[in-house]
Amino acid sequence: MSLYGALWRCLPGPLPVRLVLAALLALAAVAALFHWVFPALAPSVPWNDSTVGAAAPARSTAPAPASSS
């Protein structure tokens, strides 16, 4: 009883086919993370806070030293 075990049992076909399908699924998962999930998360991590100075109330009036990591 396991997530990946259940996934493996869901895959059809003989072993080589299953291996290829599993690799494709893993690739799709990584692609989705790289393309959608990580870019959405990036603004929330502290080391990407590229406008620390501009986080002050004077955001719209005073430019701040930006850019990080």
Binding site: L3, A42, S50, V52, A54, A64
Partner: protein
């Protein structure tokens, strides 16, 4: 509960538990014929939960590793590609402008006034010979938001435009997203920083550098360090994070305007040299 927990023990244990259960609760639901609802080989809920938790934790670890790889490697790949596309598109625009018989550059070397760029729009290309031949010129876009700094070097809105009296303030990533200002600390006094626009090249020469806190916005004031003063000089200020891969401080490089080279005059000699003529070799 007892019934299920018995399952993992195997033969003798199971039988012992069955006996206990039978004694404690009387006839079991499975019937009197010995059909006890203990499925041999099916793990206990605790074991299942532990296994699932373990899988989730391993998956989370793999995702975090992937995020690190994405941040440190993939953002560079994507940003460098996108910024190269932007630079090429700008060069193409400027070529077509020149070929459509745009008015010849004025004889005077007084820099032309630029129109205010739209937010997010690329309007210039920055050349920094000190950063070496492997450092492609980067587009300068209006704004310093996260998306702007992924698209290239960001121009602080409200600061001077290239050639204007005042302070042209630029921000760039020192790491990730193409890391345009990764080598900002390699700049030495006198190193050229050239802003190329449709009109030509605005040559600035590096002066001093300093490390400040992110809250010290006066480094990008029209007169750096003196907010409120009316500028008379044309200067440029580059900001990047410091130390590398941290947002704790800012590395700030100042530069002063040297001259304007109209497009018709051809690219300034500084762009052909890896460093300023006769200057020290890049360490």
């Amino acid at each position: 509960m007892l019934l299920r927990r018995a399952s993992s023990d195997g033969g003798a244990g199971v039988r012992a538990e069955e006996a206990v259960v039978g004694l404690a609760t009387g006839p079991v639901p499975g019937g009197p014929g010995g059909a006890v609802p203990v499925r041999r080989g099916s793990p206990s809920p605790a074991a299942v939960a532990t296994a699932l938790l373990g899988e989730l934790l391993v998956t989370a670890g793999a995702v975090l590793l992937l995020f690190t790889g994405w941040q440190l490697w993939w953002t560079d790949v994507v940003a460098e590609r996108d910024q190269a596309v932007t630079t090429a598109a700008l060069a193409e625009d400027w070529r077509s402008l020149a070929s459509t018989g745009a008015p010849a550059a004025p004889a005077t070397q007084e820099p032309p006034e630029l129109a205010a760029p739209a937010p997010g729009a690329p309007f210039a290309v920055v050349h920094v010979p000190r950063f070496g031949p492997d450092w492609p010129p980067r587009p300068v876009v209006e704004g310093t938001g996260a998306a702007d700094l992924e698209a290239g070097v960001g121009h602080y809105p409200g600061t001077a435009l290239p050639g204007q009296v005042g302070n042209v303030a630029l921000a760039g990533h020192r790491n990730t997203y193409g890391r345009p200002f990764h080598d900002i600390a390699e700049l030495r006094p006198g190193d050229p920083v050239v802003l190329e626009t449709a009109q030509g090249w605005f040559v600035y020469l590096a002066t001093t550098a300093e490390v400040v806190l992110p809250s010290q916005v006066d480094v990008v004031a029209p007169v750096p360090g003196r907010p409120g003063d009316v500028p008379v000089e044309r200067v440029l200020t580059m900001t990047a994070c410091h130390p590398i891969a941290s947002a704790r401080e800012r590395y700030v490089q100042h530069a002063v305007f040297d001259r304007f080279v109209p497009r018709a005059a051809g690219a300034p000699a500084e762009l052909a040299l890896p460093t300023t003529a006769g200057a020290e070799v890049l360490a």
